[in-house]
């Protein structure tokens, strides 16, 4: 048994890409305040605006961009400043949306974790994520967007897990976070199709956000996006093998029949709690998680899995394995053998 670190928790955060680190280092040299009117400030401003244009080009986005401290802030900003009130959120949103949900309607999901587009046809702000952070399930956002628009509503998509991997959905407001795609923690963006969708507030970012801009973070985020995602083909191949190995060992793949992002999967090991699995794997230097990083310290069952109809005890046996750019077939093999060794029959044998 090796103690080499094995990181399979890329949905929690990703290693910083070398190109992003490079861009960040350059940003540290350009420390003037982008709001200062002198030459140094204007140079920082120009770099910020170039980065904004580059981000739009990398994402294929033609609307506006508000740089934020991350997806949590972007989502809070969208919900607080949307010109239409929040009407509905999906039942499987991240806590960053869920906790702002208030009395908004909950859009239930089927056993595959998907929202029924017809139910999203509401005239207010409707929040549906692009990719679920625990199961990797991809929501049918094209159909949902069409339904929301037909009803005169506005679609907010939390794309923290999908951005940089999938094409942006056809949403009106989009939140993203750099550290989920190889950029640094502490920077993200809210994409806004049209300023008329938002009430202004704050002295920076075209009057829609206050606070000195984190230029090194922004430059690094853009560099990470520009690094591309050709590696996803290999990830998909690794994941097919991982799914097959889990099934063969007697495990269960969560939402196996749904369209899922190639990098995130939920696996259930019947008879072994997620907490016990995590402790065993952690002792071997293998980092995975139960649910999202933020909630995995808690013992409450995942709201995502229970919304899909899993009983609480079954939901408590599910771990999340998320692979990344540097994940290798040998690492997947090592994980599978460590994981399969915990299957109760084998463990007691």
């Amino acid at each position: 048994m090796t103690d080499q670190p094995l990181y399979l928790d890329h949905a929690a955060t990703t290693p910083l890409l070398a190109a992003a680190r490079e861009a960040m280092a350059q940003g540290f040299e350009r420390w003037a305040n982008p709001s200062s009117p002198h030459a140094a400030g204007r140079a920082a401003r120009a770099a910020l605006e170039d980065a904004r244009a580059d981000l739009k080009a990398a994402l294929g986005w033609t609307g506006e961009v508000i740089f934020t401290s991350g997806a949590s802030e972007a989502l809070a900003l969208a919900i607080a400043r949307s010109t239409v009130p929040l009407a509905a959120i999906s039942a499987v949103e991240h806590d960053a949306v869920l906790r702002h949900g208030g009395t908004a309607a909950r859009l239930s999901v089927d056993s595959g974790g998907c929202v029924d587009p017809a139910r999203a046809a509401l005239p207010g702000l409707v929040a549906v994520q692009q990719v679920n952070s625990e199961t990797g399930v991809i929501q049918p956002l094209a159909e949902i967007a069409e339904a929301v628009r037909r009803a005169g509503g506005v679609l907010l998509a939390d794309c923290a897990q999908g951005a940089g991997k999938l094409a942006l959905p056809d949403a009106d407001l989009i939140a993203l976070s750099a550290h989920k795609f190889g950029g640094p923690v502490g920077v993200g963006a809210l994409l806004v199709r049209d300023w008329r969708l938002m009430d202004p507030g704050g002295g920076q970012e075209r009057g829609y956000r206050g606070g000195t801009e984190n230029l090194p973070g922004v430059l690094a985020m853009v560099a990470a996006l520009q690094a591309g995602n050709a590696w996803l083909a290999l990830a998909a191949q690794l994941r097919r093998g991982l799914d097959a190995a889990v099934l063969a060992a007697g495990g269960e793949v969560i939402a196996a029949g749904s369209q899922r992002l190639a990098t995130i999967a939920g696996y259930r090991l019947p008879g072994r709690s997620a907490a016990a699995q995590l402790i065993r794997l952690d002792a071997q230097g293998i980092a995975v998680s139960a649910g999202s990083a933020c909630s995995s310290g808690s013992l409450r069952p995942s709201h995502v899995l229970t919304a899909m109809g899993l009983p609480a005890d079954a939901a408590g046996e599910v771990i999340r394995v998320s692979i990344g750019r540097e994940t290798t077939a040998a690492q997947i093999e090592r994980f599978v053998s460590a994981w399969a060794a915990m299957i109760p029959d084998r463990a007691s044998a």
Binding site: Y7, S35, A76, D95, T212, N214, L278, A293, C294, R325
Partner: protein
């Protein structure tokens, strides 16, 4: 380029940059991990954040906790909105991050005036029923140090919370005594941009404004950056260790600059000030022209945030200066990494360019 805009932002300390690098790792080392993940890589990152929290706490009063935010603007928003207080009193010279947020909460707020020296009176009247009083420690435009200990006491007697924007004072002065809430920003004390903190006195209850994963004891959701925290922590530790030395250097620079700019009139108190701020006016001076003539010197015509707007400074107006006086004013900000030679050179260049405007 000679950088004389230390109130807008400060050069990143080499020590702060060094402290960040280990936490900006790629896949070769697990230091990039999410500090909220329960596995050992996450726990190591979380431990680094707690070390940084201690380092930052050393700049703040005892008896409270440090909540990391994306910067002072967010910290001030969290303090003002999160306090739930609806009737507010703020000084006339607060930064826009306080003024705009306070007006959003209480359009009828009380404005505490300043005298011609830019100081809030220690005995200013706080109306009955005021829920929160906000007065900054050091003004960002004119550098005046406010009597925050006395004002905090006034607020306490009125039954109000006292919020202190200590962005310009943190790491330079002792922490504001008696405050209930203190906001600070890393990049104003040679740390990185994108991180700040709100200090919350024990027993003061706040509601979060950013909901989500429940980080920072539920008060501020969002993944924390171990790199930014470590950079902030290192910058705070350095400022703490060098506090006396930095203050002596700034004082010495201040005398140098004053001597090199004869004829300029000081805006704000000469006695109650942070010496790294020199806000000056000269009758008839066209500051916009001066800035475009002197592209190699980075200085400001007001606070960086407002100076792009063209609107006259609300701070200089509050001192009783006319719009014309305000437009004749410039701000030089200097500190730890400014040399006497740089400052003298810049001051002479400014004086000569001003003389050419006649």
């Amino acid at each position: 380029m000679i950088y004389l805009d230390y109130q807008a932002t400060t050069p990143l300390a080499p020590q702060a940059r060094e402290a960040m690098l280990p936490w900006l790792s790629g896949p070769e080392r697990p230091e990039f991990a999410n500090p909220h993940s329960p596995h050992k890589f996450g726990r190591a990152a979380a431990a680094a954040i707690e070390v940084a929290r201690e380092q930052v706490a050393a700049l703040l009063p005892p008896g409270g906790r440090v909540v990391f935010t994306s910067g002072a603007t967010e910290a001030l928003n969290l303090a003002i909105i999160g306090s739930g207080r609806k009737r507010l009193a703020v000084s006339a010279i607060e930064h826009a991050a306080v003024l705009d947020t306070a007006r959003y909460v209480d359009p009828g707020l009380t404005v505490l005036p300043v005298d011609a020296d830019g100081l809030v009176s220690e005995r200013c009247a706080i109306p009955d029923g005021t829920g929160l009083v906000a007065v900054m420690q050091v003004n960002n435009e004119i550098g005046t140090i406010q009597p925050v200990a006395q004002l905090a006491e006034q607020a306490r007697r009125a039954g109000a919370l006292f919020l202190c924007d200590a962005v310009q004072g943190a790491g330079k002065l002792d922490p504001p005594i008696g405050a209930d809430l203190v906001a600070i920003s890393a990049h104003k004390l040679h740390g990185p941009k994108g991180i700040g903190a709100l200090w919350v006195r024990d027993g003061v209850l706040l509601s979060p404004i950013l909901h989500g994963g429940g980080q920072e004891g539920g008060l501020r959701s969002g993944t924390l950056s171990p790199a930014l925290c470590a950079g902030f922590g290192a910058a705070a530790a350095l400022a703490h260790a060098r506090m006396e030395e930095d203050a002596e250097h700034a004082t010495s620079l201040w005398h140098t600059a004053r001597a090199a700019l004869p004829g300029f009139i000081l805006n704000g108190s000469a006695a109650h000030r942070w010496p790294g701020n020199l806000n000056l006016r000269l009758a008839g001076l066209d500051v916009a022209r001066l800035m475009s003539d002197l592209r190699d010197i980075a200085f400001s015509a007001g606070s960086a945030c407002a100076s792009g707007s063209g609107r006259p400074s609300h701070v200089l107006q509050a001192l009783g200066l006319t719009d014309l006086d305000a437009r004749n004013s410039l701000r030089l900000g200097f500190g730890r990494y400014t040399t006497h030679a740089e400052l003298v050179g810049a001051a002479r260049t400014i004086a000569a360019a001003a003389a050419r405007q006649d």
